[in-house]
């Protein structure tokens, strides 16, 4: 992707920042960049660490052989960055490219020269070498791009095959091998490594403990427990929760509404603007947007701590340790981090999928991250566990396992679909050396995630708050459209009733049907809205904390919902489309309307099917539901689900095993 960008956009110069502590592997990309025939300035980063290790890099020698300018920088210490940028600008102005480095030798160079000859004039002269290498590797996209006729392709292939026969290897390996061999020669001349004493760097010593066979998992649990206590817990160290409490109770509870009151009310306490406008601002916008912005402190603290873990190199170790488990259901160790973050909030969870480079794994992780019960879903669980199930702790536990189960089942099921088929992405990952966090990176990552959350609150949440406020507060009373006292007459109630039939197979019927429907819809704004909506709809609005202790609405809820029905409602709301903020994150990370809709649609469909199975079959056992057409439908759905999970993978490739066997017999 990046390479085709550089070629098609005719870039003026490239500033290639390489990790000085891992120079061989980094020079691999550099040699490819230089082949593009675009001026390259190589900035050797982390030079402070290189010096600390006692290594020396001879810039003159490193510059001469590949033919590009080299500068030492330390982004962490802010050393040399300006100089590097100046040199890149200078290189772009001069636009001068020296002779390309002699990366390839012998018959490879010979074959490349032949290819270059054949395609001369068909491509920009600057990129001749790059195209020749790609054609040597039989890159199909480039073959198509150049529209080569069959005769030419056949002619080129003769040269490639000759070379392959001579080197006893295939074209791709030949190129990679020679590139690394060339780099080896450059590094030998230019880099003087201090002999390692005892072979253990500080990073190795940390890893001895952190990824230790026995200690790895306990250490991980402790690290996470500390992070969540600080960000979301209820302990003296929980600064995230303190911030959110302050934002909810003081900032959006007193200061902001007070400010608007000062602006909008006259001395008599009467609004100076239209009555409806005052309601819109205070009850719609301030309350709605404030409810979401209240999460910002917790999210910032969580993002900040996770950014530190990422930057010091711990997250790569977590992926390393957890990969074994996650591979089983079609995800990789890297998918674990988003799922983990999502237990706090799905939004940063979905955003952290960006570090997964395999497209297939990333999409699957985005689709399943929303199933994890986030902190905003806990009140829903709390309400039903308390109201209907006598505070049975099994309910909350089961809710958590339903979330995990949904991830696992979806993973196993989805990986067998064509959209996710194909070679499993290799879990080939660099484990970077541990280092002190670069605060610049940490703050940037935190700021980016926090800001995008705030931005969404200012846009989509703002609009939906206004819409909800309107629908909840207005309706037709005796055929006249007006503000309603009792929201049972509101437009929202009418809409809820209109759509309640959709949820009939889930057992949502009778008095609870429209309330459950409306609560589900408001839950899309923020999941804690579900409980707040019940508070409003059961006419116990006010200061009562509905999620804790035996709240006055518990009896009413228990009377309306049977046990099985309550469970079906809970399952649906835990698994269906997440809140708007998370949907916005899905949209941004998928960056494709079809995948966005697919992901949200999948979550809703999955939630619906599971909730239906739970109600129809659970109800049949407990006697709350009678046998009927929907029981049959639920049984069929269950059968399909089991089949989709258990069926053999139609796209599984067995290439690897065949290959090894071929080698064995050939020997």
């Amino acid at each position: 992707m990046a390479r085709s960008y550089l070629v098609t956009e005719k870039t003026d110069a490239i500033l290639n920042i390489i990790d000085g502590t891992n120079i061989e592997r980094n020079l691999y990309l550099t040699t490819q960049l230089i082949e593009l025939g675009i001026p390259v300035v190589m900035a050797v980063n982390m030079i402070d660490l290189v010096r600390k290790n006692g290594d020396r890099i001879d810039l003159g020698k490193l510059s001469r052989e590949p033919g590009c300018e080299v500068v030492e920088i330390s982004a962490l210490k802010g050393e040399g960055s300006d100089k590097a940028a100046r040199m890149a600008v200078e290189a772009a102005r001069e636009g001068r490219v020296g002779e390309l480095p002699h990366v390839f030798t012998g018959s490879v160079e010979h074959a490349l020269a032949h290819i270059e000859e054949s395609i001369q004039g068909m491509v920009d002269a600057r990129f001749l070498r790059w195209y020749a290498v790609k054609l040597f590797e039989r890159d199909e996209r480039i073959q198509q791009e150049l529209n080569l006729d069959k005769a030419t392709l056949e002619h080129l292939d003769t040269h490639i095959r000759d070379c392959e026969a001579e080197m006893d290897d295939d074209a791709e390996s030949i190129i990679t091998n020679q590139r690394y061999a060339y780099i080896g020669r450059v590094v030998e001349k230019a880099v003087h490594k201090q002999a390692r004493t005892g072979d253990l760097t500080p990073s190795d010593r940390i890893d001895r403990i952190v990824t230790n066979r026995v200690l790895a998992l306990p250490i991980f649990v402790v690290v996470m427990a500390v992070i969540y206590s600080v960000a979301m817990g209820q302990l003296p160290i929980s600064i995230g929760t303190k911030g959110t409490d302050w934002a909810n109770d003081v900032l959006f509870g007193e200061i902001v509404p007070g400010l608007f009151d000062k602006l909008l009310l006259n001395a008599q306490g009467e609004p100076v603007v239209a009555h409806w406008l005052y309601g819109l601002i205070q009850d719609g916008i301030v309350a709605g947007v404030g409810a979401v912005l209240g999460f910002v402190p917790q999210i910032l603290v969580l993002c900040f701590l996770l950014a530190i873990l990422e930057d010091v190199g711990y997250m790569a170790r977590v992926a390393f340790v957890m990969d074994r488990i996650f591979r089983r259901f079609g995800l990789s160790g890297k998918s674990f981090i988003p799922l983990l973050v999502a237990t706090g909030c799905g939004v940063p969870g979905i955003m952290s999928t960006r570090t997964i480079e395999s497209d297939r794994d990333r999409k699957m992780t985005i689709m399943t991250t929303g199933f994890i019960p986030c902190s905003a879903k806990l009140p829903i669980i709390g309400l039903f566990a308390g109201a209907v199930f006598g505070e049975n702790p099994l309910v909350a536990t089961s809710a958590f396992f339903i979330g995990i189960g949904a991830v696992v089942i979806s993973g196993v099921m989805l990986k067998k679909f064509k959209a996710f088929a194909g070679d499993p992405a290799p879990f080939v990952m660099e484990l970077p050396a541990y280092h002190v966090p670069a605060w610049g990176n940490v703050f940037r990552a935190t700021g980016e995630r926090g800001l995008s959350f705030i931005k969404r609150a200012g846009t989509i949440i703002l609009v939906s708050s206004v819409v909800l406020w309107f629908l909840q507060g207005y309706g037709f009373v005796d055929g006249v459209f007006a503000e309603v006292e009792d929201n049972n007459h509101s437009l929202l109630a009418a809409i809820g009733n209109g759509f309640a039939w959709i949820f009939y197979p889930l057992g949502w019927m009778g008095d609870m049907a429209w309330k459950a429907t409306v609560a589900t819809v408001t839950g899309l704004i923020a999941k804690e809205e579900v409980v707040n909506t019940f508070g409003v709809l059961y006419n116990y609005a006010g200061d009562t904390d509905l999620m804790q202790d035996s709240s006055p609405i518990w009896a009413a809820v228990a009377a309306d919902f049977g046990a099985v029905r309550a469970y079906s409602f809970m399952i649906f709301n835990l698994l269906c489309a997440p809140c708007f903020a998370a949907m916005g994150a899905i949209k941004r990370e998928m960056n494709n309307p079809r995948w966005t809709l697919g992901a949200i649609g999948y979550m809703c469909a999955f939630a619906y099917v599971i909730a239906m199975i739970a109600y129809q079959l659970g109800g049949l056992i407990s006697g709350e539901a009678a046998f009927g057409p929907f029981t049959v439908l639920a049984l069929v759905a269950l059968g399909v689900l089991v089949y989709l999970v258990a069926r053999p993978n139609p796209y599984k490739t067995e290439k690897l095993r065949l290959d090894v066997r071929k080698v064995v017999t050939a020997k």
Partner: protein
Amino acid sequence: MAIDLYGGGNAIKTLKEARVGETVTVARVHGEGPVRRRIMDMGLTKGVQVLVRKVAPLGDPMELNIRGYELSIRKADAEMVELV
């Protein structure tokens, strides 16, 4: 120095079978497609020396030291790497 531990040379040794702490040399990378490409891009190429650093607590993946850095690779992928 290559010692033929396997008698007639019928069996090939892959990186998957290398023991922790062992330093081995890559002979070639099998397989095809992007997986193989990615493995080679990370520096697992013919002739390179690899130190098997450790195996993850649950038995997979494994951590290698190669070309001066740490690389994590699954055993299924390591099986594609033939050793000298």
